[in-house]
Symmetry: D4
Subunit: 251 residues, 8 copies
């Protein structure tokens, strides 16, 4: 149950659409469901503002279906699965109606949340090969209720391509900069923008790119202020934090 | 000139306190001042919402004074200097009235900006030895106009210490988690919070901590969503981004 | 021959069930059998309290059968094979009656030793993907005569899942903490427990997890006292030491 | 308050030496004392069987005295300080009566606990240069109530030196193997012993020893079963776990 | 003897200013002088177009004076010494009339060669702290007969500073891009220029800059074509190659 | 449009073969074409002297055809594709008439530019296994209008093989030294030549060659002056810079 | 032509079995044969005492046959091919009569040289999985004219296995110690032997063995004197040097 | 007691100069002397052909004197101390008559052994800065009874310097190649020589030389056969093995 759903449920109690008893029943559910191979976190929606997400890599279709089932039973209505291989997706789709994106390995069940963030999340990539990671970020951000602007193949070796979209960069609430090789995109964008930049190094490159380490180090050492970094190829993580920022509010 | 100052200047023109000619004069200043060894960025305040900051390490007192002078001439009223050694601070204080914090190497000229963020920035550390880096973050955040809550020595080896401050963690808009050694603080806090966590690995530790690399890797691989990372010991960078997040607004 | 078997043999001599001549014959066996490609250690049971174990990776079914044969000839009654591929297991099972666990690659011949340890060994994992390594540890510990409690998917990103099992953790004699990514589980468990924690980093993760190096470093730098570490994915090694601890006795 | 002290206190209540009121007062103390720069863990003795230890590196004499003071006020009677520089030790000794060991940087206040372990802890080193780390381990183990046997300079390049002490190795409950350079001592001892070996890599060596990394990797890859590893130069950590093992008991 | 000097000598023979006998004498000199601790390469000027350079680090003033003496005896008229500490420079200047640059550790004896290259070498730095390395490059290039344009503190975090000097960049024959931290300057300059860019990573930075490794990797992975890289802080090497390029000619 | 093409077009306007209107039309084309997954850089020929090159790895045949189409539409007449797998090349050749070199993965559309450089580019390899990388360099250099001399299998373990070709080395304008394993070729060639050497480390080798890292480090630390380095296996990058050097001219 | 063959040829000239003209013809052969993709070193036999060896990895059967052909034409009678895949070996054996060893990838043409070394080369391995590398060494040593003693699976975790063969170790002229994992075998053997030990780290192991790096570092840091090291899995290199040592003679 | 001394003692018994009783007394000495902080190996001379050597780094003058005293008492007549700081050497020389070499940190007590090897050991360095390591090797080799030829500053950047000494290289029984930076000397010498080359990487260099790692990797990957490697800066180890090779004999 996400925070929005909780609020709605309480309003339903208030206006009589839901009896207090049934509401209590739903609230009394255990904070997690122990299904043997996994302990599904049922309160994450309440605690973190977004329901549990399934990391699909290395899980069988059977395991994932078990987790989905536990989630649905506990009132979660929408599910995001990341790093899901095509084959596993096919097996799951027999049982559940998921929307699967092959390029990024993202699957969505129950559709995206309504975009209700403060502003827009701009996702920029250095090259064409960075697009799968960027799409993992974009689809995650949309699932979590954000308006996303895609700005792909604007690497610093052809600065005029980036400069042509200065207005897009300036209009963002948060920017996710996705780049492999030397990862300079994060620094250049970070120097231009007045809002947070989350940098995602990608494993694109060869030789001394060391599977994304070169881009990672480059981004960690960015001479531009306001840039933070997530793990190599972690489009999901960048989008998750970007969504948090885009939904920030006073407590 | 920061964005606030620009707004104020325009209002002054509007209400007649400043002539259009003088306003134009100030706006016509070059976007940077070339003082030989440095090209001082005069428009960063406009572009990024905060004036240029001086990275003090490896600069002579004379160089720093030159940069301060160029900044003041271009209308910047407050200056932050980071990583400033005690001795250099002493030399500078002969000429400029700076407030120097020895523990963190931070110097402030012209005082902090009024705290006008969305909420509070909580800065937590794993241990006592992480405090200098945490203070670099705290003083930077205060300089940039944020209310800061310090939560020091709450490392995960004694979970009850962290749990005792759950309400503080929950009340934050952004959390900066500062930790060395195995850096697990970021993951645990990230799992508890529903707002962005910026992790700062510190060089605290010995042996296989490799000067902060162990904590850095740990934080990059955090199993908690919503955690991003900055360079080892980079309290300034974390605070800079945290302040951006805490001042987020629709465009 | 393990230490228990030696004791039993001597008792049999004492009560006349075994003649002194036959006992001597068994004891006169060479300390190792040279079978060309391997020198099978026959005295390890006496010397270390557990007979030789076969590391199955990279060995042919024929080689493994040869080693088993040499072991059985020298009086060893139970054999553990680790890292055994499915295919090789199939070939071996034609000749020997082994119990094979596909998930962990463990095969057992002759059944487990009776559980005679001081207390229980608790094996905890951070996530579902760490289970194969945890099972390698669990099956090894059971083979060596230990009661095992499995506590899977209790990673620190959802602390309440771990906290719900505090009594299980407190009831252990030794804990084996199995985790990939940032490996924070070891530190958190280490801070809660008053008995030894053996940490097993796993190669679960991607990007800057570097095949388990991130978790390994994290565990080596644990801020909790009482945590030691074994090689990445080395569930067997952790269980072997845990069993030694669980069978500790005054000499 | 350590577990032994708790037991004694309850017995004192039972036999009338302590009033129930005073006992309750002592138990009602907060689980930690917040003294600003540190949150001293008062319940660690109860939780983990040994009171909090002070990691002296990077702390001022004033900070350490503050922590000692908080510990004493909460009923802890004995304090161990590790990695304490000579100069800081001198300053502390003005206020507290500590026994300081310069070679290992260990300071003890209130004397060692009575040796009440299951058996003996043997601490072996590869060379003379490893002795400071070995002494950190030895003094820690003695502080925590263990009988310690020192076996120094028995590296594998002169095997007969090690073999001459086989009986000592065999008589141990736990062995701590301390070695730099190639760290082979752990494997050789691990192959000889039938009890746990905790390996401590040291930063002794030059060139490709990389400050202890070579020994660390060697120990993690030990071909002997029953060997676990702690951080480079972490004599304290090895002794802490060894003491836990030497005090193991059924729950 | 450099190639220019050889040509001049032969012309002198042709016009009678030098007897054939004396010319032969000079040419018959050995290709290197063995002065015990060093074998001074006398033909490098002929072979490579520039006389031997003295790498000053780790050499005593006495050793350097010995090498200078051997060079002068063999007809070399100008000497460049790199990485020369102030103190050693002082000792040498007692005997030889050297021009010493403290900031870069460069010393020149006999003055610079006349600037006779194809065009200009532009040397750009990301920040103020990169200047010592840039000066090592600039002084080396001038010594070798090149016109040098210095463009310091134009890092990519403030792109407008770099853009303001586009004409300077475009006017170069070769560019040397000197930068630490994330080293993005090389890629951005490489994307703008139509002539070779030689990138020099510097050890400026902290934490995950790893003494220049981050900048080095970044530059090796540059997404801009036409960028090659030299060792960290190797301003001399970059200038040496840049001078070769600036003096290229058909054979 | 490359610089040569621009010049030719202007001459055509001058001599009436092209109307001013049509010339303007071609010049008014956008500096890049946005085709969704890529932003094709149309002005790179003007800016850098060579049209955009397609990096084929990880792109589909469809994507590459899209980019080729955009290039041709914008007046580029010749296209170079690097790192193109055989299968993708087959698909592309259905639509475009490319010349494909399987060994190096290079494809050329529209033929090579006329060789108009200052002199010759010599490409030397240490062994036979380095040839694919050397061919990537050779074919790129020929595409860009250079005369290339191939000198393969002249590694330093048999110096006389290299010495037999001293005249070839001496006749070059630029040398590209391609070597794996210990990469010593670059230093030896660098010591012999009086023109720039661009070193290309290759991933040839095993064990501690670490996929080319050993050769890379070796080349970066070359004791010979005048050697710069590109990424591991980056024959294209070396040739691109070599071509720039071979076409250097005064501005 | 190897040194032995040269001697024999000169003797044949002396005793009239070979005319001076024919001898001269053979000696006048070029020092290497240029066959396009390779420059076969014909004088290596003379220079180094052993004819050129073919490194088979990455070469086609056609290339290898070309090199063999060039060698035979230049009077070399025996050829060693290393790292030869089964399939390539099959193709070659159609044309040449090679003896192929699948386990080690070694192929021999023309048989081994008569064993004429000073003494015996002992080749020891830590485990069964190290045998392929050991066989590469053993077959190379036999090809080069050495008596070889194989001592497999004598790792230090079961010291008595090694001790049982002390006489074999003592009888060697050179020992090659082949081991993966922690590579401690080299140190233990090095401490026992009074002749050179050449250590070969193998890529056997998992996790923190890092493909042999752990064993490599261990061996480089051996506390035993008289141990040198070759590349990971380089059985050939170890045997080549061992053979040189076993054939040492005064000049 | 070294092997030579044992032989002499037995001859003295044979010719009546030593009584059998006294000989027995000397032989009955323990294989090592336990002096607390060290276990001095008295039989290493017998076992390995050279008495124990003292590694001076990190030992006090008092400790070293204690070890010398134990050695002398056990009949060793000559002692080598390596890596001895000047100050410690001064303290020792008060008590013992040592010959100290400041440049290499070598001290010799009792003079060198008579040079009785098979041939000469040639020690070559790449540059002047490698001389201290080369001298450690040279003095060790002389101590162990070898004729040494020094060939310093013959790095591959000026090949003619090395070529001028081809006869010296060819006359060696063993070559020790000492080089930092890219360490190419080992490969070039290895390609020229027909006897073993032991390569010693040095920590000379800066930036990406990583304290000798670059040279180490280069040497491990040498394309020349017959090259083995010791630890960075380990001149002693190279000389120790070279001496073993130079004294090889049939058993």
């Amino acid at each position: 149950m996400e925070q929005d759903e909780l609020l709605k449920m309480l309003e339903n109690v208030a206006n009589g659409e839901l009896s207090a008893e049934n509401a209590m029943l739903r609230l009394k559910q255990q904070p997690f469901s122990d299904i043997g191979f996994a302990k599904v976190d049922n309160h994450r929606g309440l605690r973190q503002g977004a329901g549990e997400v399934i990391y699909g890599a290395g899980k069988t279709a059977q395991q994932i279906c078990g987790i989905i089932s536990a989630m649905l039973e506990n009132g979660q209505e929408r599910v995001l699965i990341t790093r899901l291989p095509q084959e596993t997706a096919n097996e799951i789709s027999v049982k559940y109606d998921i929307e699967y994106h092959e390029n990024s390995g993202i699957a969505v069940l129950g559709g995206n949340k309504h975009a209700d963030g403060i502003g827009k999340i701009v996702i920029a990539t250095g090259g064409t090969s960075d697009i799968p990671v960027a799409e993992e970020a974009a689809l995650t951000a949309e699932f979590l209720g954000n308006e996303v602007v895609r700005l792909y193949d604007v690497g610093v070796a052809g600065l005029h391509r980036l400069m042509a979209y200065l207005d897009v960069i300036m209009s963002a609430t948060v920017i996710i900069a996705v780049a492999g090789m030397e990862g300079a995109l994060a620094s250049v964008v970070g120097g231009l923008a007045d809002h947070p930049v989350i940098a995602v190094p990608t494993s694109v490159g060869y030789g001394a790119s060391f599977g994304g380490v070169s881009a990672l180090l480059s981004m960690l050492n960015s001479c531009a202020s306001g840039v933070s970094v997530v793990n190599i190829d972690n489009g999901f993580g960048a989008a998750y934090q970007a969504s948090m920022i885009n939904h920030i509010r006073r407590k």
